[in-house]
């Protein structure tokens, strides 16, 4: 089984998808095989990893619905990037159909369906990263029931930090209810830091006190190269600017931090 890590925050727009995709990329650069599970019905991480077009019935939604051991294997797509290391990245994509899985939340044992569907399907990977939706309900619970590690992603902004704190409290309190008593938060990643915003500067100063040793470095600042890579559905290696090189270095450090935290 791969090392499974759920990336979450109760708030949206805090950089969960960007961090998930770029850490997956950095892990692949380091030679790791990575499976990205897109659990956000918006499907943004699927698109940013180049998995676009008609996905038919091969999405994470069908894998969960099937409720069969290893069902995820039938919904795995190769990363669509044109980069050497991209061959080490795979994607279990999502579409809006994933919203339908919410209706199953009221079924006994439904929160375990993703863990069951992943059983054996991610044995060939070093890491499985879950890009969680901005919620603590069923879809996020599916991810948290599937693996022992969670990472909170946040901007240095009041409501983002509040969302990260809610995510941390949820992770720390609900492992047993999710039949996953080993569930714990292994780190907090700060992204989207804008030095021009006084609020960001002020909140950034408080983060070490708020999260203590869980706070990972480096903080990821806002960079055009990252936004361009996201919007053009390309890897960071395609960004030849200084910003692109900086971003690759920062995410590389976060990937190494993740490896260290889970080894």
């Amino acid at each position: 089984m791969a090392t499974r890590v759920a990336m979450g925050n109760n708030k949206g727009g805090v950089g969960k998808t960007t961090v998930t995709v770029r850490v997956a990329e950095a892990l692949a650069v380091l030679g790791k095989r990575v499976l990205v599970m897109d659990l956000d019905p918006q499907g943004n991480s699927s698109g940013r990893l180049g998995v676009v077009g008609d996905l038919g019935a091969r999405t994470v939604s069908e894998a969960i619905k099937e409720n069969r051991r290893g069902a995820v294997a039938d919904s795995i797509w190769p990363c669509g990037w044109d980069a050497e290391y991209a061959s080490r990245i795979s994607v279990c994509p999502s579409t809006l159909d994933l919203e339908d899985r919410m209706s199953e939340a009221g079924v006994i044992g439904a929160y375990r369906r993703l863990a069951i569907a992943l059983d054996g399907a991610d044995d060939g990977y070093d890491f499985t990263l879950f890009d969680c939706p901005p919620s603590l309900f069923h879809l996020t619970q599916l991810a948290l029931a599937a693996g022992p590690n969670a990472v909170a992603v946040t901007e240095p902004e009041y409501y983002s930090i509040e969302g990260a704190l809610r995510f941390r409290a949820f992770v720390e309190a609900q492992g047993t209810n999710l039949s996953n008593p080993e569930l714990h938060l292994i780190g907090v990643i700060v992204a989207g830091y804008d030095v021009r915003k006084p609020a960001h500067v002020g909140q950034l100063e408080t983060l070490p006190e708020t999260f203590g040793p869980l706070l990972w470095e480096p903080v990821i600042p806002v960079r055009t190269a990252i936004q361009d890579a996201d919007e053009s559905q390309l890897p960071l290696v395609a960004q030849k600017s200084e910003g692109g090189r900086e971003a690759r270095a920062w995410f590389g450090q976060l990937a190494e931090r993740l490896i260290k935290a889970t080894s």
Binding site: Y111, L178, P198, E209, T210, V219
Partner: protein, 286 residues
């Protein structure tokens, strides 16, 4: 600390978010969602099967049509009463049976010294209310399997001594007799119980008409209550309460102290330590 390598410019302090406090309204997790969905479905029987009168089928004089629609409203109201009665009965049975196990297995001792303090602090149930539920739940649970109509909690308490002393068949016979007499009410159940010869013995307290024995009885009851108070008011409990909510804890201790001083005065005792009033216990200022 930023990967950008730039030092922060002038900062403006904003509030720091705090970790969420434990709340009674937690998000549902795992199978709790399924349990809630199941409970909701049970609580609103037939919500999706609402029977709306087809206007095409309502004919006749205006008075006849009016009676038809009024009958529909009466039926809906009756359905509502039955549903609410069923929901209330279910709550009593589920809570009562769980409380019975918690008490009989001494599970409340995990967090509290006495069962009474446990139900009061954990569920905001008074001692009296907890014992009412405990008394009614077993007979309601047993008879639920026999009668379609849910038993009200007050009816359960009338039948509890019958089942306890004579068994479930006797309780069942009392209900059946009340049904023969018409609608099952508290009065009809008491009449049926009496007719069947299962009326409970008058309690010693009610039987006593001697005012002197009544005084001793009250003192004895007070002593029994004080024993429970003594078990609940431990130094650890006071410290824990003080740590959780100092102002509330201090007020409770002052009230307790007043009660103790009042009792001590009546008994001719001195309750102060080293001449200082108990209300000035320095441990509460921590």
């Amino acid at each position: 600390m930023s990967g950008g390598g730039k030092s922060p410019r002038a900062t403006r302090r904003r509030p720091t978010p705090q970790a969420p406090a434990p709340s009674r309204t937690q998000i549902l997790v795992g199978d709790q969602i399924a349990a809630a969905a199941s409970s909701a479905a049970a609580l609103v029987p037939g919500a999706r099967q609402a029977q709306v009168v087809d206007p095409a089928g309502v004919t006749g004089t205006p008075a006849e049509q009016l009676r038809f629609y009024e009958a529909a409203i009466d039926a809906a109201a009756e359905n509502h009463r039955n549903s609410m009665a069923a929901a209330k009965a279910r709550v009593t049975v589920e809570i009562g049976m769980a409380l019975q196990e918690i008490r009989s297995r001494d599970l409340y001792k995990v967090t509290h010294a006495t069962f009474e303090s446990y139900v009061e602090q954990r569920f905001q149930l008074s001692r009296q209310r907890a014992y009412q539920i405990l008394e009614a739940a077993p007979v309601m649970f047993a008879l639920t399997k026999i009668f379609d109509t849910p038993l009200a909690e007050s009816h359960g308490r009338i039948l509890a001594p019958v089942m306890e002393q004579h068994g479930i068949e006797a309780a069942k016979a009392v209900v059946a007799k009340a049904q023969e007499a018409g609608k099952v009410t508290g009065a009809s159940l008491r009449d049926a119980r009496k007719a069947a010869g299962f009326a409970p013995e008058p309690s010693p307290r009610a039987a006593s008409s001697n005012p002197r024995s009544s005084v001793f009885e009250r003192l004895q009851l007070a002593q029994e209550r004080l024993t429970r108070v003594s078990a609940a008011v431990t130094r650890t409990a006071v410290h824990d309460a003080n740590a959780e909510h100092p102002a509330h804890a201090r007020r409770l201790v002052l009230d307790l102290t007043d009660d103790l001083v009042s009792i001590a005065n009546a008994l001719g005792l001195t309750v102060s330590r080293n001449g200082s009033p108990l209300g000035d216990d320095p441990t509460l200022d921590a």
